[in-house]
């Protein structure tokens, strides 16, 4: 199963605007795979959203999930 992760702000430049990750069933697994692929993520503060909600606990995801990585907000 493939998940396409969108990244925003500074994260899009440090990683890639779209990251494709295979074989992940939940956000903890996803985070592990992402930090393997982009070790810089280990030292960056970011939130994971699933279907536009910031998740605080491990959350199941599938190919239909809308997943994103968000660095700290700096609008306004």
């Amino acid at each position: 199963m493939q998940i396409t992760v969108s990244t925003f702000g500074q994260l899009a430049e440090l990683t890639s605007p779209k990251i494709i990750v295979s074989d992940v069933a939940d956000t903890v697994m996803l985070q592990q795979k992402l930090e393997e692929k982009y070790p810089c993520l280990q030292n960056i503060t970011y939130a994971i959203t699933v279907d536009k909600k910031i998740i605080a606990i491990n959350t199941a995801i599938n190919a239909a999930s809308s997943v994103a990585l968000l660095p700290p907000f700096s609008g306004g």
């Binding site: 969108s6 925003f8 702000g9 500074q10 899009a12 959203t49 536009k52 994103a68 968000l70 660095p71 907000f73 700096s74 609008g75 306004g76």
Partner: protein, 151 residues
């Protein structure tokens, strides 16, 4: 003021939620038009307006010439909808308008415009301040500094 400067290109409206994002800077004349439109609402006694302006800060010895704004638009519009609902539940506002720029906004230009109106001043002022705080802290929008030496 040049009449053409009042044209603000709103991004294509999301079907579900009210659009707040505009391309490029928010002009003074756009703000004036917004104010002018409220003169027919004679139950309004107070307007509170917040404007964010791009600063030319010095960061690591380099001067900011502009900020490039981007957003996770779908999430931001959904979040803004929640903010709007919570504010209207909490404060007896007549109306509320929010605009945020995307794209490259030069130092000195306005990138953020919050406008609340109510019968009495306290509601307009408190609601405006709360909306500004909520947007700054919960809306997925990012600003990237662009420097004068073009890096």
């Amino acid at each position: 003021m040049d009449g053409s400067s009042t044209k603000i290109k709103l991004l294509m409206t999301n079907k579900k939620y009210k659009q707040i994002f505009v391309w490029n800077a928010i002009s003074a004349s756009f703000i004036a038009e917004n104010i002018q439109k409220h003169s027919s609402k004679t139950d309004i006694g107070a307007h509170s307006i917040f404007l964010g302006q791009v600063r030319s800060d010095i960061i690591d010895g380099k001067k900011v010439k502009a900020i490039e704004y981007s957003a996770y638009e779908e999430m931001a519009l959904e979040k803004m909808h929640e903010i709007r609902e919570s504010i209207f539940l909490k404060y007896p506002l007549t109306c509320m308008h929010v605009y945020h720029s995307l794209g490259t906004i030069s130092a000195g230009e306005i990138c953020f415009f919050v406008f609340t109106s109510a019968t009495h001043r306290k509601e307009a002022i408190d609601a405006c301040e709360e909306v500004v705080e909520l947007i700054k802290t919960t809306l997925p929008v990012w600003g990237k500094e662009l420097f004068e030496d073009s890096t």
